[in-house]
Subunit: 284 residues, 4 copies
């Protein structure tokens, strides 16, 4: 049976749930999961549904057309309908750190991530052998102060050629250009190696050590033009003590980064994330 | 504005959500929160809604009547509609341990629990001074091998006199009689001082120490005739090491017990728990 | 058998552990627990020992004298030796929030905290009834912009009269004066309702909501003249979602605050905390 | 500078710490880390030290000889002294599940594990391509009811040929023979996919689902002849809800298994684990 995921958001108003669930009924859908949220400050309604289409002859294009006409227009909705078997195409950006790359490729190979990974882009050649081990095309795209424009051009070329849906920065240590950010708005996920908003910027584990915190963390967030300020997707932490050196914090942090980034990728790949202003709404 | 909570469960079938949300629309309700779950093994549908009634003249009795006729009958639903300001009446059963009692009464006094506590029943007189401090009637009801019947009779008398909705065993160290269990079916909450199903029975912290576990826990569950086997409401854990003595595990465990029992009480008081067979469905 | 706790810190140098453990041997002590730490950046050595004195005629004053002469002088040590049964005297400062107060007094009454609480000081009269319930003297000491000097004078008078060892600010919502801070240097514990260093200052839960974080926390720290920057003793966190309103974050935060403050009080009362610069060393 | 790790255990008696630390002093060692524990029920003393040898001409064989004569004999100690750069040789046993294998090989390649992995042994050929990707010899050793003896013989041959120090069962789905267990006593680590002692045996996630637990876990333990009863090294958990199907519990469990097994391997590789009866003492 075909499964679809429906994502909706619009101004909050009466009757949305009744209208949408009635629509599902009419297209012979069986609701497997429904979740909704109302942001009362912004007065925005969010809904996510997973349905089975019990009629074998269901046609996704037709369903989308009817949904727009019968429901979306009158409620002035933004919406998406995805076939569940459709896998988004994910580009990995890396530099020299390999722990998140190994973790993602391991999970990918084990079939845990509902994505395709057509390519890896890096500003260094160090991790090329890992990409080769996993049989994924690796592109060395230098990106320095002097060749930013050329680098950006090459990145965009590759992303378009491979029809990339979203980008994951797996400890990619270079700035993403404003142009690339605007081309992939709300579609670039970064892993920051601290529990934001604490310890923004460079060397967060050293900062954490110096401040003497008892918990460290990592944060997966969307990339916006405002560094380390994009909408947060996932965070996790671990307890530490006075005995932890900065090097041990970094080692422990790798585990948190791996876990948090993998979770964020999973949430994105399963169409579970909405963005509202500076925040995310996540149906998990 | 009046707020109501609607709890529904019935055999899973098409159109329930559409019918219920349409009903809310017709009674001029504004859905604040909706959550649903389908147990696919048992084929049972569960739903919990919180609504504001925007019409000042809404009448809860009338709403219930209409709901039964218009919706519940055709779907063969089990359902409850509660006014949100209505507080369930909770009886506390205690013996000699005071940590859960202090915690619950502290939270109660601080206004954190949506309940009334009309009485405390104990098989010992030790904790009477604490009840008095908090101004709550305390009844000493001896309960030994020799006076079980009399004890049970007195317990039931008190519970009925005070119109008790549900019972919380805050480390009450006596068996609850089958009669009392059947009178308050799925309405008696116990805190077991282990991470069930590990370490059932007596002295779980000593068992945990002996086995050398690295994590201990506590479990809040409904009381059934099958000891320590009732539906689980909430569990939590803490990491421990080889250095922890049984006494230190007990001390650490008190914190987990407090936290887990308080959470279970809160979930019950806010009408968030369904029971399906040996399991709970909790909308949190 | 008498138990003592020895705390030592000094410049790191060879032979300290051998010398101290040899000393314990000579005074017929039995080491129950030993923990040590070297801060390699500052080159400071820290040690904490718990010993049983197996000789009934052991004299603590004599032991201290011998320790100074035989060990401490040559290593140029800072040190303390405490009899384990000696309870520090703790003053509670509160304003209007009652959750931490209820929690500490509940634990205190249940015998979980190795302290005496001779008095509660507040800049409001609201919580007086709670103090009375627990039989603890309550002093209303107004503290406003206009009477700071008078307030401070009265606070210090009371603290000295009751021979207070350390102060716990259980959500006390007023500034502590520089004079009081210097009189109780490294002896005033505050609970900050955020996961420092994120969200300093006022309304941290509102800040957390606005930023859309997925984890909130609380921090117990020593009070220094630099607000929210004192050495951190304990931190803990809880996961939250987009669905949490600021009010729900505050409610959830109360549980974290309670837990974190209780842990910090316990660590302090058991002489487990050293301070080195802006950080703590905690032997737990 | 050469670093060594010293592990000691013996009957608890006075003067051990003084004697050992004095010994370190005499061999011009600088103690970096010392940890000790006394099991008061069994009256056993455990100690672990990390030292730098400041004298370039230090000779490990000579140090061991002196230690035996000067210290170990009189206290009747069991002890080991390891050079820190010496890496234990670890054999991986796998069947068809690949998630733990990917995780360990990823960490190994990233240089996070202080081990050598000279070979992988499996009773199926499925995971051979992964071993090849990481350049590690893979041996297919069938192990069925009918060829147990032959299988065991081949396993032991390989382990001896490659001079294996310890064995990690990364979701190896076959019984380990008593002979292999006795040859590698306390040197075989298994990952059990439940929070032991709950849900022993097969299909623990299905058991957890059926019982309706709110937390699932995984346990790394040493393999003894008593299935799932060996000394526990590490445990961790994750919260789940009624909504989790057995399949989702399994998927979530993979993450816990990965994390817990990696931690256990790290602890073993760094010589941080003692075994006392059915329990471990872990200096972490």
């Amino acid at each position: 049976m075909q499964q679809i995921t429906i994502l909706i958001h619009c101004a909050d108003q009466k009757g949305i749930i009744a209208a949408v669930t009635d629509f599902i009924l009419k297209i012979e859908g069986n609701i497997i999961y429904i979740d909704q949220h109302v942001d009362r400050e912004q007065n925005v309604f969010f809904m996510r549904l997973e349905c089975e289409l019990t009629n074998k002859n269901s046609n996704l294009v037709a369903i989308k057309n009817v949904f727009q006409i019968a429901i979306a227009t009158s409620f002035n909705m933004s919406w998406e309908i995805y076939a569940k078997e459709q896998k988004p195409k994910m580009a990995l950006f890396v530099s020299k750190y390999d722990h998140c790359l190994f973790d993602i490729l391991g999970r990918y190979s084990a079939g845990e991530l509902n994505v395709e990974i057509p390519l890896i882009i890096s500003n260094h050649e160090d991790l090329k052998p890992i990409a080769e081990r996993f049989g994924i095309p690796f592109f060395y795209v230098p990106f320095t102060r002097d060749n930013k424009e050329e680098g950006e051009k090459r990145q965009i070329e590759l992303l378009q050629k491979y029809e990339i849906t979203f980008i994951v920065l797996a400890r990619y240590m270079q700035i993403i250009t404003p142009k690339l950010i605007s081309l992939y708005e709300n579609k670039i996920i970064n892993i920051h190696h601290s529990f934001l908003p604490g310890f923004k910027g460079a060397k967060p584990y050293h900062q954490a050590h110096e401040r003497g915190v008892k918990i460290i963390g990592a944060t997966a967030h969307f990339v916006t033009s405002d560094l380390d300020e994009g909408p947060i997707i996932e965070q996790d932490v671990a307890h530490v003590t006075h005995a932890s050196t900065p090097e041990e914090l970094i080692a422990l942090g790798r585990d948190i980064e791996r876990r948090v980034l993998a979770k964020a990728v999973k949430l994105y790949a399963e169409d579970r994330i909405f963005i509202v202003g500076k925040r995310t709404v996540i149906f998990n």
